[in-house]
């Protein structure tokens, strides 16, 4: 392996309707960090139809080169043609690392590609690092491998996984997990046009109908979330939760009980039947912490629970617990935050 030229770091750039997915840009930020450590380039793999206009922004976000594959058959995601184009490209260019957003699209595409390439794939990584790996079974040390760190077993263990076979080392990462760096306006890069030839075999699956609702709420991307539950008490009182969130620059979450009571829209619901979030900080206000709610937020890096009932299960997963009336505690929190130096 050591005499081989090390491949570049690739990011699959997901786009829908001419909009690049946030997670792809977050991955470009991470790819730059890994590529710098390995001394290689960051490259985007961008498929679609009539999407060349978005390429400059990919350069500004940090791609040194963008592989651009355009074809009407690639306008909407479909696993067979996307797999074909990317597998051919990987075989021709031999990347070291390939990253996908762990979106429904990425979770359909990446495994199919990995299977075709006989490559290892690790889902939902929460951290990626470069380190050496001692492959004891084969009595060798693999240099500068990608450490693929992910929770497993229902979040009860954290595993570090390494691909011990040939590159590429493939991973998926959820939105909001990696830090998004600011783009550099005017930064330029290369574009490599990829010739696309799709056969009838590649296009046997057709999309008959498509419905997408643009949600104005993007909780998954929020780094800080303030969430209100049934303990908030009324729609009027929920304004206090909104004010709290606005003050500290947080997204607004809610438990199912608060949504069912009509105090806040379903878009804000966190939990098993809502969205799963993993922000840096989750502040649960008047949320008892049912299993279903915890399923959607227990991976938050830090949890602050405010609840008048000291026996609420939410305290079992909280890092900081404030036992008290939220109508008294929240104004104190706002005051403390405004007074920070």
């Amino acid at each position: 392996m050591s005499d081989k030229q090390i491949g570049n770091v690739w990011v699959f750039i997901e786009q829908d309707d001419g909009k690049i997915a946030d997670v792809s840009l977050e991955l470009v930020s991470k790819a730059r960090e890994l590529a710098a450590e390995l001394g290689v380039r960051t490259e985007g793999v961008f498929l679609g139809s009539d999407v060349a206009g978005l390429v400059p922004s990919l350069h500004e976000y940090g791609c040194d080169n963008v592989f651009l594959a355009q074809d009407p058959g690639l306008a909407l995601f479909s696993a067979l043609p996307y797999t074909k184009v990317i597998v051919d490209l990987v075989k021709a260019r031999r990347p070291n690392i390939m990253m996908f957003g762990a979106t429904p699209l990425g979770r359909s595409l990446a495994p199919r590609i990995a299977s075709k390439l006989l490559a290892g794939l690790t889902a939902d990584c929460t951290d990626l690092q470069i380190d050496d790996f001692e492959d004891r079974a084969n009595k060798r040390v693999l240099k500068q491998k990608l450490m693929q760190i992910r929770p497993a077993f229902g979040g009860n263990i954290i595993a570090t996984i390494v691909n011990s076979w040939e590159d590429p080392q493939m991973v998926t990462v959820r939105e909001g997990v990696m830090r998004l760096d600011e783009p550099t306006p005017g930064r330029t890069g290369e574009v490599t046009e990829v010739a696309v030839e799709l056969s009838d075999e590649d296009t046997i699956v057709s999309i008959i109908e498509r419905f997408r609702a643009e949600s104005s709420v993007n909780l998954k991307a929020a780094q800080i979330i303030v969430a209100g539950g049934y303990g908030v008490g009324s729609k009027e009182n929920f304004d206090l939760v909104l004010e709290f969130a606005e003050t500290i620059g947080a997204g607004v979450g809610a438990s199912r009980a608060a949504v069912d009571a009509g105090w806040v829209d379903h878009d804000h619901q966190v939990g098993q039947t809502g969205v799963t979030v993993r922000p840096r900080l989750y502040i649960a206000c008047g949320i008892s912490g049912s299993v279903q709610h915890r399923a959607g937020m227990s991976d938050s890096a830090k949890i602050v629970a405010i609840n008048s009932d000291a026996n609420s299960p939410i305290f079992a997963i909280a890092d900081y617990g404030i036992v008290g009336d939220l109508h008294d505690v929240i104004p104190k929190f706002i005051k403390a935050y405004r007074a920070r130096v």
Partner: protein, 299 residues
Amino acid sequence: MSLKIFVCVKQVPDTKNITGQAMKEDGTVNRAALPAIFNPEDLNALEMALELRDEHGGKVIVCTMGPPAAADVLRHALYMGADETILVSDRAFAGADTLATSYTLACAVQKYGECDIVICGHQAIDGDTAQVGPQLAEKLDVPQITFVEGVLDVSEGRVRAKALIEGGYEVVESPTPVLMTVVGSANVPRPAGARRLMTYKKAVTRSELQAQHGGADYEDANQVAAEEDRLRERGLWIHEWHVEDIGADRERVGMPGSPTKVKKIESVVLSGQEFHDVPATQEGINELVHELISEHILS
């Protein structure tokens, strides 16, 4: 029309209901104390298969790769209405990652013979990877429809399904054979049928039958063979396939067939009852805000 539907299921530790007994003193999970259950979304996959069969006619074959004890989920599949079950089990399969697992399952599907639809649960709760479905589709060289919430139409050689995408859904049409992965919101899996339970609780694998007769060194081989014939006739036979039975390459299954290696495992210590108790006073909250800011959690 008669559909052959092949459903892949998994027996998993119940990671979603971790109770006090399942916690060790150091706060980590005692896996041995977790009950083994039918992976939840695989129940949705099976329910979808049974509904399709009930509507269009045909046969539902349920297959699992796992240790001998995984025959339990196959018996449950029989209680729900499966027609035929297969346990793919061999020590050689141990340590398989998703690539080796999908290869093994593909060998089993191919050994069984041509099917119209292969259905898998979207993901298993022990790994949450959702990778085996698409990888199995690729290994079988058939199209895939993932995140399926419902089958809208099945006609000669085609399937039309509603599949979830980011922020919405798509209606997708594919020729058969096709592989679908099914999400939990697709349906409500039927309970075990009481009469079927009484019948199929006697269903066994060959290993289980041999164990009933005193293990591998049982006395009367002829008697066991006769018993096996009787069970087969009555539909109480769970096929048990080993690595040779499915024609799998030993280099591509289990640990040797798995590119991903686990370098390190750390248990997450649940912070139960160990939270930092912040007094609900202005001073207490000031201190908390100060700490969150100094740790760059708040900005």
